[in-house]
Amino acid sequence: MTASSTKGAAKPASTRAKPANKAESAADWVDGRLGLYTLAKSNLRKIFPDHWSFMLGEICLYTFIIIILTGVYLTLFFNPSMGEVVYHGSYAPLDGIRMSEAYASTLRISFEVRGGLLIRQIHHWAAIVFVAAMLVHMMRVFFTGAFRKPREINWLFGFLLLFLGMFDGFMGYSLPDDLLSGTGVRFMEGAVLAVPLVGTYLQMFLYGGEFPGTDIVPRFFTIHVLLIPGIMLGLLVAHLILVFYHKHTQWAGPGKTEKNVVGMPLMPVYMAKAGGFFFLVFGIISACSAIATVNPIWAYGPYRPDQVSTDAQPDWYMGFSEGLIRIMPGWEIGLWGHTLNLGVFVPLMVFPLVLVAIAVYPFIESWVTGDKREHHILDRPRNAPVRTGLGAAWISLYLVLLIGGGNDLLATHLHLSLNDITYFVRVGFFVVPVITFFVTKRWCLGLQRRDKDKVLHGRETGVIKRLPHGEFVEVHAQLPAAKLHTYTAHEQPQPLELPAEFDENGVKRKVGVIAKTRAKLSQGFYGEGTQIPKPTAEEHHEITSGHGHH
């Protein structure tokens, strides 16, 4: 198991047993060339723990595969050209209308290629679910602390996949060159133009001239089908290799330690479960695509820069950036004959920051807490109230921005004023995350207290007993040892202390601002009011020896 023990085993076995059957001899053949047996030895019966939340990543993986499969099919029919044609295809309501070949070929896929509409819809629904699943998967990893050492790099890989997935989705949505996506591409032009100093150059180079030009769809096509998926595939493989290498995290429980992983073997249980899950995901996405329309480009009409439809929104994963743009006040500064368009540039800068904030969190937490150990046992979210509070605050910010991005639909469907929603979101951007943080933290502490009660006094059985002197009490049942262990398995770290003000020689130490900040933050993480002290064995003995009744 150690590095030295595997070293000696590398010698080829000349006295190999004869293969029992054809399959074995085929395996021998592969082994002789690829080292199959060594590879399979540690992986064939690899153990995966069972928990539904550990399968969120699989949803991402499988939707990604579905997207690639259907995407390849779509390229067989899609024509990524902005050359103009007059449409005379089978969709009568657009007969005689001028449109780009990209749009016309998407109409063809939808109305003239048998099954084309289905594959288009599977591709799009899978993309919507893909990014949603990545976000939920990331939240699972965040709230359970699964990003801690040794998994920080894998967290970053995952983050990059989310980031690239969002952009690839945006580009895919832009390809059909319909009225809705064209409006998104126009937005992008304005956003690029808002970049100080080089904005106009970037815009001209990106679009091959003035908006819209004829280059943007073919360029997006190459990026959408080749460049970004290629990078994502590489990251995905690296992500999975690391998952295998690190072995999966697990929840605390009887028999589960930092040194082991408890679950079912890859062969056969997880081959069947994970393999089966791929088909389940594909099946559900196919059924969604039979039942619900996604992106009816024929209804939007072809893109023209002087036309627009209300409800101009991007797909959901860009919704929070849409919210940022919509709530920003129209600040514009004139500087010595130049214009700084803060109304667009500020949201453009805050948008990646919102994402980067969550990406760098593992490094901030390990720096603040000074925790450099490996963690394979997951935290229950309640047992890390500050982290959980921060995560909840981030989600609330994200949701507030989504509300901002859909303010017009909220206004019409809830009979509110568009302007009021925007004002609310402007304030909410700052206030809601703060409130959410404190509420979540308190809630976690409440849950910790409840766990402590359960450990000390047992669980409520619902059985009411009448005591001899007439008092009614509910019988509490002592928790089984497994539960007692599970509820108390977490650590309760102490905050970092600043070194004593004077060293042993009585000389005043210089404590830098950074060290002070770090100590303060550490107090905030683990100091007073951030955890309910775990029940001790003494407390437990005292109460249980008193027959568990108070």
């Binding site: 808002a194 100093l197 028999g255 089966g276 059924a287 849409e322 743009i325 129209g330 040892a481």
Partner: protein, 355 residues
Amino acid sequence: MSHDMSKDTLPESHDSHGTEVAAHGDPFADPGLPAHEPRRTDIDERAAQRAERQVSLLFILSMLSTVGFIASFVIFPIDKIVYIFPIGHVSALNFSLGLTLGVALFCIGAGAVHWARTLMSDHELPAERHAIEADDEVRADVIEQFKTGAAESGFGRRKMIRNTLIGSMALVPLSGVVLLRDLGPLPEDKLEHTGWDEATPAKPIQLINMNTNEPMKPEDITVGSLSFAKPEGLEEDAHDFQVQIAKDALMLVRIAPGDLKDKQSAELGFEGILAYSKICTHVGCPISLYEQQTHHALCPCHQSTFDLADGARVIFGPAGHPLPQLKITVDEKGFLVATGDFDEPVGPSYWERSR
């Protein structure tokens, strides 16, 4: 302590049942893996056989569904519309293909998972984690190897090689950057001009109604109406129509004299008819949600709101400056014309924009 999983690491070794609490010692100590409890299918052969039949049934359903998929593909014409409650009038082909494909895939998955859950072993096994960090010996060995290699290369010693290598590696990507130059033209003053810029008082350009493709008369534009215009000569089938209309599009409204709040804007108009750029100054959406009673125009993309009676001043939303206004008048035939370009660039602002 073997790494691989074999029968002797089955949880029998952890025999604690987990319900009793040790009277002494740590009540919270790890009681070890709970003993395996059999499922019905483990102890009841009939239950196991039933599960087997269920799994096979799912696989058979999948086969039938695939046959259904192929049959649907052959049977339904692509334009056949059927009514399916409660979805509505849907394409028979899309609906049947999607459902049969969905069922075919779902049943394979459901069968496999049901098989795993009922018939495959559900013994939970522990596997030891390997140490990720190398031990000190390996670490020292690797560092030593690296040092040897580095010393043999002489990279640190021969500074000239090192520096020129760094220099060449730093320069070579520049070729790639230079190659990107022809992605597009330089901006120059392209963004400052629109299709109206050839208009002069001597040679004005007519405003052409987007709907009718005809020149417009002021009397057609009533108070409360909304119309859109493009410059004379710009035809839909022109090769650069999209680029031109992205800058030239006009929105025409007429505002009653008493409601006009901005004198300068009124002077650019003709008898209360004002011609504003239809392109939002925020990020360029065609802004045209015109509320004729309030004279507000709203952008559907980000809700920047402009008061068209007040020189298109921004009254709400993220736009940073008013919509540019085109000076209009009538020619000798009584048609609306522009006598010059907008006096500022249309559309979203950018760094080089001077006003």
